[in-house]
Amino acid sequence: MSHPELVGAIDIVAFVCFILALKGLSSPPLARRGNLVGAAGMLLAVAFALAFTPLHHLLLLVVALVLGVAVGVPAARLVKMTAMPQMVAAFNGVGGGAAALVALATFAQRGGLTSDGERVAILVDVVIGSISLTGSAIAFAKLQELMTGRPIVYPAQQRVNGAIAIVIVAFAVALLAGVGGLALVLVLVSSLALGVAFVLPIGGADAPVVISLLNAFTGLSVAASGFVLNDTVLIVGGTLVGASGALLTRMMSQAMGRSLTNILFGAFGAVVTATGTAGDGSDRSVRSSTPEDVGTMLAYADRVMVVPGYGLAVAQAQHTLRELVSLLEARGVTVTYAIHPVAGRMPGHMNVLLAEADVPYEQLEEMDVANGELARTDVALVVGANDVVNPAARDSPGSPIYGMPIIEVDQAKSVVFLKRSMRPGFAGIDNELLFDPKTVLLFGDAKDSLAKLVAVVKAV
């Protein structure tokens, strides 16, 4: 087989691996194997790319690869489960950055002497890759709480974003008309700015959907790199991610009961109402309780439903929760876990967390099933969740989360919130349910509170 034919054959094997990987990742029993198949295809593609690299840059190449592995592997291995979404954002951002750099480097190498088709591909690559890079960086900062998770809005924001987009188009046209390198640098700078401006108004709670969208963007910029470099494996790999990522983004926003447009642009209109409802809650009283009271209440209940949220993940309290539930079950209490599809900060977050604590799969109930059982539930124990049980999503059309399906814990006979403070949830919206007469609150870190409850239930 000649050299180009061999490369072509390897590319085909790599595509097939990528397609099988995506297929596997969408089905629970095959997901892990799917990921490994994708990694194998990638290894093959990269190994053959290396095999045909001229020796004069080998040292530089090896250093870059080793450094990349030295950063990527520990980051991926050591990140806490709670910080998973922002880790994905970070990996996605660097991928977008790499795609933009490939286009810039190619333009530099060809001295700007590229065909119109190549220039269009380079532009698409630089614009989308840069938006993905800075957009992911902002999503990362929001999730990592390096900046506020609330939507950041300012007057005429949409016009500013529109203006940046027009500037990008203008420089792009200049580049196509033959202005050269400077125009491309200006396209780069304004695209980086647009990535920041685009994600700023999106609330931290919606960040996973945005990361998914930016993931699809990076896929498209990688595909554009494939057009620039005339490389089919980049086109196929990038396009698969772009297309499946777009579809996945839609599925994720549907799981939150909202349209993508509402998530991306909803903050512009909703902010006024959000602060409006948040304002009147501060001076009302809530019923704060003690571990003794709550523990006794749980021990003498017939049916308890646990609604876990991000607070459980932050406190790493899943094992303590499991211990409490086991004690209650030993007393004859029927306990189930109600899993909201977007509880935590990524879909599936709670399943992963509870699986780690060996909670049997059969005890986890999806939202619809749980809602059917809440009316005959004695105690709904909300552990570090807020927005996913907020009745405002069902009752107040002005609320930014209106329309999101919730776990209707207000249907239960009584509700216990384990909360760190009266701080509103991640979406920044007050929860009326906290002031409901049948609600009691147990303040403190979820792990501490659960450990106290364990002690109380043991003693009962």
């Binding site: 990527g72 790499a98 005339n230 790999g237 599936g348």
Partner: protein
């Protein structure tokens, strides 16, 4: 390869990308996002190609940075996805759309 041939591959890949992930249970949304995130790390192949043909400090720097970032994307992406999926092992074999499974899923071993 001609521009038209590349464009055909692109169009076909769009359709494959849409078709291949129909009906994903919500617990797999994040791992799927993370896994596809690793797949677009294939830009590493492009970054290697660019670095191997670069001349001069500017081009070398651009290529070096591209390889470095792309490597983080690929390696980190696959490792982090594997860690997420490790949590599902031995359980959760059914997606249970809209209800409880009739019986315990058989693929898992009890832990």
């Amino acid at each position: 390869m001609s521009g038209l041939a590349l464009a055909s591959i692109f169009i076909l890949a769009v359709f494959v990308g849409f078709e291949v992930i129909s009906k994903v249970p919500s617990i797999l949304h994040t791992p799927l996002m993370s896994g596809s995130n690793a797949i677009h790390g294939v830009i590493l192949v492009g970054a290697i190609a660019v670095l191997s043909t670069s001349h001069g400090p500017l081009q070398d720097a651009l290529g070096f940075l591209a390889v470095f970032l792309a490597t983080i994307n690929v390696v980190g992406g696959f490792v982090v996805t594997d860690r997420m999926l490790e949590m599902f092992k031995g359980r959760g074999t059914s997606s249970r759309p809209g209800g409880r499974p009739p019986s315990r899923p058989s693929a898992g071993r009890p832990r």
